[in-house]
Amino acid sequence: MTVLRVIAVLLTGFFVGLTLEGIARKIMARVQRRYGPPWYQNFIDVFKALSKRGISHGWIFDFGILMALGGVIATLAFVPLGDLVAFPGLDNIFIIVYLFAVGALGMAMGMVGSGNPNASIGVARALTQMLGYEVPYLVAIAGVLYYYKTSSVSGLMMAQQDTWTLFKMPIGGIVAFISLLGMLGKKPFDTPIAPAEIASGPMVELSAKYMGLLMLMHTFSIFVEISLFVDIFLGISNYLTFLLKFTVVWIIATLISAVLPRFRIEQVVKFYWKVPLSLAFVQVLFVLLGWVF
């Protein structure tokens, strides 16, 4: 039974993720008053990339990509999508956040294994950015956990009987959304993948098949991050309302990223530890004092 649910979760992640990325490119185009590619463009890109004959830099390069994709698939399996929960009792918030690090470490190791300094600079930036957005995110989430006294994601979702956690703890919601932008690697925070400065950062030596696998990994990781946000902050939802909320959050994130230029890496860390971290502590103070709407 769990196998069926896991397959369902993975397929949702694949199809919904890629279509939403196509829609995001369409929105970005419309913001720039362009016609924009069809919504299924990302499917074509992924399969085209997979069908080409690329180059590999040795066994650590391949192992890194496999570990990255495997890690993110494993993380996705644990994330509850609305009421579709693959492992009912075991979806602990810290597991998902730290299993996600397996994917990040795998990719980082594979890319630096290619031997290109652009990749190492990109990975160093990615890890720094992770240090930046991870701390406020986890503090805000810890406030929610403390309030609801449970750390299982589906439990958190179920606990929002009366109103959404977003309305209960607005500041926590804002902090989580800002860190979400950092996690997605969208425009304001895409310093690690800056195509102009470091030739698309870690992906500099990724040729055909590996580029395709990494695009899949990127889609799954986007799916994991946003579904975490939706589950915790946007109230109870069955499978369809979950996808609806997911799309709304995704569109807002795309709109923000369509208009903002790219941060420098010091600014990212300084920003995350000035504004969101202090907001997170304010929110946590409110939770301790019990001032929750």
Binding site: G70, F87, F94, Y98, G115, P117, S120, V135, L277
Partner: protein
């Protein structure tokens, strides 16, 4: 099976035997070492808890006893595992030219005898005696490292002396007040002792020995120099095991003398003393993490990470609820194994390349793949990433902190754990990945004898990561012994009031994900293998690929944010020079060159004596 006292005696004699044996033949001596230590591990493994032995009698009415407690047995097993693996590693490593093998082996055995005594002593004075033996053993080995290790040894001994003398002061004040020294009696007397100030003084001073030894905030400066410069294999023992003696004393100070009953709850059930210690742990996590990100010498980098992980253990132990305490103890196991594993892989790298500077190396994975695998699994466990055991202890500490609602500590532990991704990745990218330097192109993999312990460590970490039952069982028995509500776990599922997770499903799901990725990888056309110098260089031709490696100033953009950070080493050095100046001043004052000066001072002293009339 011989009794504990005989085991310790065997080790003391063994150190002399091994000295002679190693003088005769290096390999034989180290093999003898390894056999003796693994025999000790075997003895300790199946010793019965509660087994008592009388050692000898110094003070009139109080006899020195060795008593096997769950806590002591757990720490002893962890330490002996680390030391036996390192001893096996040393068999091949001892051939290195610049250390004196005979002295090395004998002092190693001396240190192990000290360690055995520390973990099984039943009262404060015996613990102190064996503590000093262990410190003596390690103190004599440290200067055999690089040229700066002489100074490092002195700093190491001075800081650990500060800790142990405060501990001794507390022991004697207890003895002077109650006349007893064994742990149970002391905890009873303390429980119904009235003066709060005395309790505070005793527990803090006893804990100070732990603070000094495990490198917590005020006394953490020795770790960088000593680990950085000690002989490579020994720094694995130093950080893997000796730091754990400090954690043992901290565990005693916090749990054997039940701080929760002694003091009133200050914040959500955490007494004020624990809260102060937790904050010391927090500061050392911050210092360890941010200083480790800056280091360019890989051994000093992991030394700073030992400070951070020592802070983790203290935070875990300080919380004193069932999950937090279990998290702290489990982290003792994880950090011991992970730090030893990482230092062994560094010893292997130094054995082959001779340098510990990260930017002088690169691309060693293509020549030393197994050392890379050891280092990789080591950092995955150190950084606390799920498939390995490192994550379990961090998860426990996080959930206990959340349930206690201590959010600033939580934020700092998050900084520590995410920061550990950063600093563990720096040597991975600088030393193992990236471009292989031409001068390292003929570097070979380390001999098989050095590889065996490293790969055993890898298997052990992953095994415990997937099936943590044995460690969790011993932690449950410790918690029952110490009187904390034990955590409930069944096989691979760990339950906490906040939530539960199953290590087995995480591992199977991870391998399923890996297989899916592998299938996708197989289906599509195979990539053409390209060697390391065929890179995208922006269309330009490069012939010297040594320069095409990014390792110096790996996180320069964060380091710039805190370049003017307060350095405690400089503070202590100023203190030292201040005292030296005072000494010099009095020396100048008293020792006049002319005889009349002496006569003058002698008369002064005689007058004072008469006035006081003794």
């Amino acid at each position: 099976m011989i009794s504990l006292t005989n085991l310790i005696l065997v080790f003391l004699i063994g150190s002399i035997v091994s000295y002679l044996l190693t003088k005769a033949n290096k390999i034989l001596g180290s093999i003898f070492n390894f056999l003796l230590i693994s025999y000790a591990l075997y003895v300790v493994w199946n010793i019965k808890v509660g087994h008592e032995e009388v050692l000898f009698r110094i003070l009139r009415d109080v006899e020195r006893t060795l008593k096997v407690t769950n806590l002591g047995k757990y720490f002893a097993i962890v330490s002996l595992i680390v030391i036996s693996f390192v001893a096996f590693f040393i068999i091949e490593w001892i051939r290195k030219k610049d250390i004196k093998p005979a002295a090395f082996n004998s002092f190693l055995l001396l240190m192990v005898s000290g360690i055995l005594g520390v973990f099984f002593s039943n009262d404060l004075l015996t613990l102190y005696i064996f503590w000093e033996i262990a410190v003596l053993g390690s103190f004599l080995i440290v200067p055999m490292g690089k040229k700066e290790s002489k100074r490092a040894a002195i700093i190491y001994v001075v800081t650990s002396a500060i800790g142990s003398y405060m501990y001794l002061f507390a022991t004697f004040s207890i003895y002077q007040r109650y006349g007893i020294l064994s742990f149970e009696q002391v905890s009873q007397y303390l429980a119904n002792d009235s003066s709060n100030l005395f309790k505070w003084f005793v527990i803090l001073f006893i804990a100070s020995a732990g603070i000094a030894k495990s490198g917590i905030f005020p006394l953490h400066t020795w770790l960088r120099i000593t680990h950085g410069n000690a002989p490579d294999a020994f720094s694995a023992v130093l950080s893997g095991q000796l730091v754990k003696m400090g954690s043992y004393v901290l565990a005693i100070a916090l749990s054997v003398f039940p701080t929760t009953q002694l003091f009133s709850s200050f914040y959500h059930g955490v007494p004020l003393l624990n809260y102060v210690l937790i904050w010391l742990g927090n500061i050392s996590i911050l210092i360890g993490t941010f200083m480790a990100i800056r280091q360019n010498d890989m051994k000093q980098l992991i030394a700073f990470s030992s400070i951070a992980n020592g802070g983790y253990i203290l935070v875990g132990l300080g919380i004193m609820n069932s999950i937090g305490y279990a998290g702290g103890l489990f982290h003792v196991f994880n950090h011991a194994i992970a730090a030893a594993m990482i230092f062994l892989s560094f010893a292997a790298v130094v054995y082959r390349t001779g340098t510990t500077k990260i930017d002088e190396m690169g691309g060693l994975i293509w020549r030393m793949p197994w050392t890379f695998v050891t280092y990789l699994v080591g950092i995955i466990s150190l950084a606390g990433i799920p498939p390995t055991s490192g994550f379990i202890s961090k998860w426990m500490i996080f959930s206990s902190l959340v349930s206690k609602g201590m959010f600033i500590t939580l934020a700092i532990t998050f900084i520590g754990s995410v920061g550990s991704f950063l600093y563990v990745f720096r040597p991975l990218a600088g030393v193992f990945l990236g471009q292989l330097k031409r001068k390292h192109s003929d570097v070979k993999e380390v001999p098989i004898i050095m590889l065996v312990p490293m790969l055993l460590f890898v298997i052990l970490t992953i095994l415990i990561g997937v099936y943590p039952k044995p460690v969790l069982d011993s932690i449950v028995s410790i918690e029952n012994e110490v009187g904390i509500k034990a955590i409930e776990h069944s096989g691979t599922i760990i339950k906490t009031p906040l939530g539960q997770w199953n290590t087995l499903t995480v591992f199977t799901m991870f391998s399923v994900g890996f297989i899916i990725a592998a299938i996708l990888y197989m289906i599509f056309p195979k990539g053409k293998k390209v060697d390391l110098t065929d890179q995208y260089t922006g269309g330009e031709y490069l012939y010297n690929y040594d320069l095409y490696h990014y390792a110096t100033g790996f996180y320069r953009f964060i380091e710039r944010l805190y370049d003017k950070h307060p350095s405690f080493e400089k503070l202590y050095e100023k203190l030292v020079s201040f005292f030296r100046y005072i000494g010099y001043f009095t020396y100048k004052l008293v020792y006049k060159t002319s005889p009349s000066g002496y006569v003058f001072w002698i008369t002064i002293v005689i007058l004072i004596l008469f006035w006081v009339r003794w």
